[in-house]
């Protein structure tokens, strides 16, 4: 039997002081996030922000010719819909559910009001934005400087950190699209990792068998991104809710 879902599975919501959390709670609506569902599209208006709990959302940059590259991945450590409170009315990218699960959504108007009051939620969301900026910049440089295999390791680890399982549902083609590389490149890289006993790949399911070894192979970009989001939350829990 599955454990009941609660908004506190999202780390940002969990880090809110009790009073702020209670105020938001009636507005948080549990939503299944299905694989491939676009939470927002380039240029489209956003009616909600999403706090993933058991799902992962990819932020993609879409080029004119239709090719795409993942610029960040958001899971239970963050939220999707930065543009809403940053005041950019639309986004340039697209947010697509990369791993199905659940999340909680909040209406744009509620979020804007809360953010405008400048309390703990505003503080948390801004700090998360900083972590997201670091992730995006690191992804940019990783795209440029590191091998497909290293990038695949980074992508797998970042995804795993945002899930409670060791298994990902994913085709190589989709990974190739996320990473913005040719499928052959992903096949080759995944082949190496499988031969080394790090992962097992079969029929659209990737199981991570040896996480420490995967961490040994990954480029530094993974650690940079992880450190940033860890620091965000550890400091926040200390500052925002010293009693917990």
């Amino acid at each position: 039997m599955h454990a009941p879902h609660t908004p506190k599975q999202n780390h940002l919501l969990a880090a809110l002081p009790a009073a702020d959390y209670e105020r938001l709670l009636p507005h948080l609506e549990q939503t299944p996030l299905e694989l491939g569902w676009a939470l927002y599209e380039s240029g489209g208006e956003q009616g909600h922000v999403y706090f993933p709990t058991t799902s992962i959302v990819s932020l993609l940059c879409i080029m004119q010719d239709g090719s795409s590259a993942e610029i960040a991945v958001v899971g239970n450590e963050g939220l999707v819909g930065i543009a809403l409170f940053m005041g950019g009315e639309s986004t340039t990218g697209r947010a697509v559910v990369q791993s199905a699960g659940y999340g909680y959504r909040l209406r744009a108007s509620v979020l804007k009001t809360e953010f405008g009051q400048g309390g703990a939620l505003q503080h948390l969301l801004l700090r998360y934005t900083q972590a997201l900026i670091t992730q995006m910049a690191q992804t940019a440089v990783c795209n440029r400087r590191h091998s497909v295999e290293q990038q695949l390791c980074r992508w797998l680890l970042l995804s795993l950190d945002r899930l409670s399982s060791i298994e990902l549902t994913m085709t190589q083609e989709l990974i190739a699209n996320m990473l913005g590389v040719r499928r052959e490149g992903v096949t080759e890289a995944a082949g190496h990792l499988q031969a080394a006993g790090l992962i097992h790949y079969s029929r659209g399911k990737i199981t991570v068998l040896d996480r420490p070894k995967l961490e040994a192979r990954v480029c530094e970009c993974y650690a940079v991104v992880k450190r940033e989001s860890d620091r965000l939350l550890s400091r926040e829990t200390a500052i925002v809710d010293p009693l917990s």
Binding site: L35, G36, A69, A72, T92, V96, A137
Partner: protein, 285 residues
């Protein structure tokens, strides 16, 4: 303190003997330089006056490092005619420009987000004017000014779009297109047809080897879009350069201009291929 001396509006008539003419001159410099920056120019006059008290005009020099990754931010900068690159480092030395900031922006965005440490190297790549403010003063002013908050949140968002576009651009576009884009972005910010730039420096910006830059610059030169001599790049044909650049230039420019004109077009062309693949994954599950 230099900041109080430089501000003609808030300096009380008592205090250190500063001649009126000096103060006036400093005030003029301050006013002129800060208006150059469009974020400051967008703040309502009354709030701007209060900000001015904490702003100090400085000259940023090519090659100067404003922040290193992991360092505490001591000042924020509002460039006027200067230009600042945000470089992300990997493996200790390889760099890539993930943001370019000129008169349209501010250097020190982590402070806007409540964080006082830089995660990037901020390197001056175009000598020129800027206004700077001490970090503590900025944080205080920022809390007080709703207008400044709105301006800088929105700017942060466009900077994020620039980073995202750079990430994708690095993945898909050839050096020649990326160089053209970079030259256009620089041209927009410095408002001069000529700027000094070595191939090695450009290599750091674009994340490619110097040879790659040399080849791309040569190609643009042959097409008579730019002139290049001893590190001086001259934009000869801006329209031609726009045609040679990848779409990423327009996308980011639209964001900065606040006119999402390109977006509708982009939306229409969203990857049919990606959608099909997602569907196929869905069928498996």
């Amino acid at each position: 303190m230099i900041e109080t001396v430089l501000n003609p509006l808030l300096v009380p008539p008592v205090g250190p003997p500063t001649t009126q003419s000096n103060r006036e001159r400093a005030g003029q410099v301050a006013r002129r330089a800060s208006i150059e920056n469009s974020r400051l120019a967008a703040v309502p006059r009354k709030e701007y006056r209060r900000l001015l008290a904490g702003l100090e005009p400085v000259t940023l020099t090519f090659g100067e490092v404003l922040y290193e990754p992991g360092e505490t931010i001591r000042h924020v900068y509002f460039p006027g005619s200067s230009l600042v690159s945000l470089l992300t480092l990997v493996d200790g030395h390889l760099t890539l420009e993930t943001g370019l900031i000129g008169r349209e922006g501010m250097v020190g965005i982590p402070l806007v987000l409540g964080h006082n440490v830089s995660s990037v190297r901020a390197l001056v790549q175009g000598t020129g004017t800027a206004m700077r403010m001490a970090a503590a003063r900025f944080s205080k002013e920022f809390r007080l000014s709703l207008a400044l908050q709105q301006e800088l949140y929105r700017y942060t968002h466009t900077l994020m779009a620039q980073i995202a576009q750079t990430a994708a651009c690095n993945r898909f576009h050839v050096v020649e297109m990326r160089l053209a884009r970079w030259l256009l972005m620089t041209h927009d910010r410095v408002k001069s047809d000529q700027f000094h730039m070595t191939h090695e420096f450009l290599g750091h910006m674009l994340g490619v080897r110097r040879v790659g830059v040399t080849k791309a610059a040569h190609a643009l030169q042959q097409r008579k879009l730019i002139g290049y001599s001893r590190g001086d790049i001259t934009v000869l044909d801006r329209r031609g350069l726009e045609a040679a650049a990848c779409q990423c230039y327009d996308v980011v420019k639209d964001m900065h201009d606040g006119a999402p004109a390109g977006h509708a077009v982009r939306k229409m062309r969203i990857s049919a291929c990606l959608t099909a693949q997602i569907r196929s994954v869905r069928r498996h599950t």
